[in-house]
């Protein structure tokens, strides 16, 4: 194995390590919010520092590989993809942290009916599944798995698009619960962003493996190999 191969292998391992951490942050953010577990929420906020440190390290590693090894072709695309995935992961980490902050700020348990009609649990699970699968696509270098992400995002978009009306109706009938309802609406917006980050990462994986640029293309084109 060449020196560059060793560096690239290490970069991949470090990226997966950060990815695993971010996915765990999202799972913990979900648990902390739905159970109003403030200790768990504080853990998420504390671990966000680790996510940020990982981002800086990956940036530096990419910079060093560019400077010392002048990667080209598939190697170049891999390092460029990692650089962008790194930003996507950091933003997803921020989202998990801000959901955890809501968990600390909310005082009363959420009305179960509100959780049900907004489909927030379903949305959380879909977002977490997307993050897990896009990581699997990266790990296995599998663009078929990466392409599935684009379809899965449709569910998040659908829940997000209906949320305004559903929450507004709920607030009209439950004026005592305005604050938690608004928090949930914010969380829905944030989870929709998690879906977008997953899609961006799927695009980067396809770019690195197939040298195809899918950014700003329609989903029907993205799904075609």
């Amino acid at each position: 194995m060449s020196h560059l191969d060793i560096e690239l292998k290490q970069l991949k391992a470090d990226t997966i390590k950060m990815w695993t951490l971010v996915n765990l942050q999202l799972v913990k953010a979900k648990e902390s919010l739905l159970n109003l577990d403030k200790d768990l929420a504080r853990q998420v906020i504390l671990s966000e520092k680790r996510v940020n440190a990982s981002e800086l390290k990956l940036d530096l590693d990419c910079e060093n590989i560019f400077a010392l090894f002048n990667p080209v072709a598939v190697d170049l695309r891999f390092v460029l993809a990692v650089l962008k995935i790194n930003s996507n992961l950091e933003r997803t980490g921020d989202i998990a942290e801000s959901i955890a902050k809501f968990a600390i700020n909310v005082n009363n348990n959420f009305d179960l009916k509100l959780l049900e009609i907004t489909r927030i649990v379903e949305m959380f699970e879909a977002a977490i599944k997307m993050m897990d699968e896009v990581m699997e696509a990266f790990d296995k270098e599998n663009t078929l798995i990466a392409r599935k992400i684009f379809q899965q995002d449709e569910l998040l978009d659908e829940i997000n698009n209906k949320a305004n009306t559903i929450v507004a109706d709920y607030i009209r009938n439950h004026t005592e619960n305005i604050e938690p309802a608004l928090y949930l609406l914010s969380v829905i917006r944030k989870l929709e962003r998690v879906g977008d980050q997953s899609k961006n990462m799927a695009e980067e994986i396809i770019f690195y493996i197939e040298a195809k640029v899918l950014k700003h293309r329609s989903d029907s084109i993205k799904n075609k190999k």
Binding site: L4, V72, A73, V74, D75, L76, R77, A211
Partner: protein, 250 residues
């Protein structure tokens, strides 16, 4: 029209086939880099364009090599005339053991040009084109051998330019130079592209990436891929090209 063109070229050294059915087209005012591992045939192929291989006894060629649409292996082609049109720069700077001035005018004197004004003008113009004039204008009568390696190489390029070729072939022109001199030669290649068609053989892939418009990858006597340099170094089509440019060869 293409400046250089090779069609179905085979080259043999005795019974050994060293170039296998290569065809390539090279546009005017462009820089083309030939890359590939040692012994892949890239230098042999380069030397076809000024018939430098003719000196090798066991050399035999099939196919067509054209410059401006004319087959240069035609019987009625005069090799001396051809080489006025096709300059060549080698790996090791090879100035004549003469003054800087005499190195530049050497080709012109062979052509019988004696007018001092023309010779002086050519010396200044060629040295300026080769980005050497400022460094040597006050010591034109000094020996060329007193120049540094990098300056000697630029002198050799100036000597090539003096006879006003249209094509310049370069065989590893910067591999014996330090990084600063090498960068100067690269800048020079970039400048010269406006007026000349340049073909460069290089082992330095980053150099190929920096200076050339198109890159041709040779392997075991075959042309594996010839495409825009940007594509060769970001998304080569052939797996062997990818393995070579990423350093995973063999």
């Amino acid at each position: 029209m293409n400046k250089l063109e090779a069609q179905n070229v085979n080259v043999y050294y005795g019974a050994n086939k060293v170039i296998n059915d290569i065809s390539i087209s090279i546009k005017p005012n462009s820089v083309t880099a030939f890359i590939g591992p040692s012994g892949c045939g890239k230098s042999t192929f380069l030397r076809l364009f000024n018939r430098m291989n003719d000196y090798i006894d066991i050399f035999k060629m099939e196919g067509k090599v054209e410059i401006d649409g004319k087959n240069i292996y035609d019987k009625n082609i005069r090799v001396e005339e051809l080489r006025k049109q096709i300059g060549m720069v080698f790996q090791k700077p090879n100035p004549f053991p003469k003054s800087i001035y005499e190195n530049i005018v050497y080709g012109l004197r062979i052509q019988g040009i004696k007018d001092k004004n023309i010779l002086d003008e050519t010396v200044e113009k060629s040295l300026k084109q080769a980005a050497l004039w400022e460094e040597v204008k006050d010591k034109l009568k000094n020996s060329a051998l007193a120049l540094s390696g990098g300056q000697q190489q630029r002198l050799c390029i100036a000597r090539t330019l003096a006879v006003e070729p249209t094509v310049i072939l370069m065989d590893e022109p910067a591999s014996a130079l330090d990084p600063i001199s090498s960068a100067k030669v690269e800048e020079l290649i970039y400048e010269l592209k406006n007026n000349y068609t340049i073909v460069i053989v290089t082992h330095n892939m980053q150099q190929a990436a920096r200076v050339s418009d198109t890159t041709a990858f040779f392997y075991m006597g075959e042309l594996i891929e010839h495409d825009a340099t940007k594509l060769i170094f970001t998304n080569p089509k052939n797996e062997r090209t990818q393995n070579y440019v990423t350093g995973r060869f063999g």
